[in-house]
């Protein structure tokens, strides 16, 4: 789906907890998320920290929209 939207010239920041999948399928802007059931959340964190975590992920996603992409841009999620 992300590819078809990019095909029309609209950049798509794809947040996914399983980055190898969109990498294989060929998405262009990929941001690693936390987990499949909650890509932009982390129930293990206190509410304020979870929100900060989500903000960090979305901020990275926004960054990819302004990034010149040559091949594939992949921002993996680091740390546990």
């Amino acid at each position: 789906m992300a590819k078809e939207i990019e095909r029309r010239g609209i950049p798509v920041a794809l947040i996914s907890a399983i980055a190898p999948l969109p990498i294989a399928v060929g998405a262009n802007r990929i941001i690693g998320g936390r987990a499949i059931p909650h890509p932009v959340g982390d129930p293990a964190l206190p509410a304020d920290e979870e929100r900060a975590f989500r903000k960090m992920l979305v901020s990275r996603a926004l960054d990819t929209l302004t990034a010149e992409v040559q091949d594939q841009l992949v921002l993996p999620l680091e740390g546990p």
């Binding site: 789906m1 992300a2 590819k3 078809e4 939207i5 990019e6 095909r7 029309r8 010239g9 609209i10 950049p11 798509v12 920041a13 794809l14 947040i15 996914s16 907890a17 999948l21 969109p22 294989a24 399928v25 060929g26 262009n28 802007r29 998320g33 499949i36 059931p37 909650h38 890509p39 932009v40 959340g41 129930p43 929100r51 989500r54 903000k55 992920l57 979305v58 901020s59 996603a61 926004l62 929209l65 302004t66 990034a67 010149e68 992409v69 040559q70 594939q72 841009l73």
Partner: protein, 348 residues
């Protein structure tokens, strides 16, 4: 044993009627082999006989498909073949479509059918799951070779012999899977395959993954601060109660929901109906899939100009590639229409 009765299909060109100027000619049938059918007759040797040759103009077969279909069905009923062989059509798209049509009609009448085409003939995609298609080269230079392959398959089909895999029998993969009892259990086969791989030996996967095309990256947004963004998700996040009945798996639809005026996705009004994971965490806080709360913050701070009022939703769970592509195209149409310039897509 009596000879296998074969009906052959060719287009107006190979039937000797004429080229492009005769492509509108309607369907017809003659007894015995004609044109490339003479090669086919030779290849069949004593095993089979071309009892009749059906022909049709390439334009006619495509423009008047229903009429062509009726005529083909009538000819096949008249000659009662054991098998139908159509083509080879090589890379000719219209001829390939006509071959596919004849074979499909034969199949509907319970007659086995095989065609021969280049793998990139557009008709392959449409017909390969329904009929057997032997691969050919791109040009007629390899007519004999192409006909040999197709006729070997045709004789097998006519003789009710079991047909093995595409690789074993040399036809274009049909995208079908059959169950069979393997000699070893999956653990043994997996380790054997791994060992072959480690030793650098050739191995055959039991589950080929599809190959995907690449899309050139969309140009970056020049001024994020002046851009309108939208959220798309495959996380199955819908208004609570799922009034539209979005499927939890194998979705065939997507929906657009208004998020206008909402500061975040409240657990009272929204839920995920995704059937591929435990939705408990998302349903306590749907922003864990659709980060509306923080996007509103970025919007308010001017990081980007505006978040579109519409949230685009489907369920990405055991989805067919064709549906996913269609969803992407349809949603892209909406995005373009409503002036959206960038997308945050959350995939679960």
């Amino acid at each position: 044993m009596s000879k296998t009765r074969v009906v052959h299909y060719i287009n107006q060109f190979f039937a000797g009627i004429g080229g492009e100027d005769q492509a509108d000619v309607g369907p017809g049938v003659v007894e015995g082999p004609k044109g490339p059918g003479l090669v086919l007759q030779k290849v069949l040797e004593g095993a089979g006989e071309v009892v009749a040759t059906i022909y049709c103009g390439d334009n006619y077969a495509n423009e008047f498909e229903e009429k062509a279909r009726d005529a083909f069905a009538e000819y096949l009923s008249r000659y009662q073949p054991d098998v139908v062989l159509a083509g080879p059509a090589f890379t000719s798209g219209r001829y390939g479509m006509a071959c596919g049509l004849v074979c499909a009609v034969a199949r509907e009448l319970g007659i086995p059918a095989v065609s021969a085409m280049h793998p990139e003939n557009p008709a392959v995609e449409l017909y390969r799951s329904r009929i057997y298609i032997a691969p050919t080269a791109a040009t007629t230079a390899e007519m004999l070779d192409s006909i040999s392959r197709a006729s070997t398959l045709a004789l097998k089909l006519a003789g009710d012999q079991p047909i093995g895999s595409a690789a074993e029998e040399d036809y274009l993969p049909r995208g079908l899977r059959y169950s069979r009892v393997a000699s070893d259990d999956v653990g043994v086969r997996t380790v054997e395959m791994l060992m072959k791989r480690l030793r650098g030996e050739a191995f055959d996967t039991e589950w080929p993954v599809p190959s995907y095309d690449r899309v050139p990256p969309a140009p970056p947004l020049e001024a994020l601060g002046q851009s309108t963004l939208a959220i798309v998700t495959s996380g199955g996040v819908v208004p609570k109660g799922n009034r539209d009945g979005l499927q939890s798996a194998r979705a065939t639809r997507w929906y657009a929901y208004s998020i206008a005026g909402q500061a975040s996705l409240s657990a009272e009004d929204w839920e995920s109906i995704h059937g591929g994971f435990d939705t408990a965490h998302a349903n306590r806080d749907p922003n864990r899939i659709v980060p509306l709360d923080v996007l509103r913050e970025f919007e308010a701070s001017g990081a980007f100009a505006r978040l579109a009022d519409t949230l685009y939703v489907t369920t990405g769970n055991q989805s067919g590639l064709e549906n996913a592509i269609r969803f992407g195209e349809e949603i892209a149409d909406e995005l373009v229409k409503t002036g959206v310039e960038g997308v945050i897509f959350v995939a679960t």
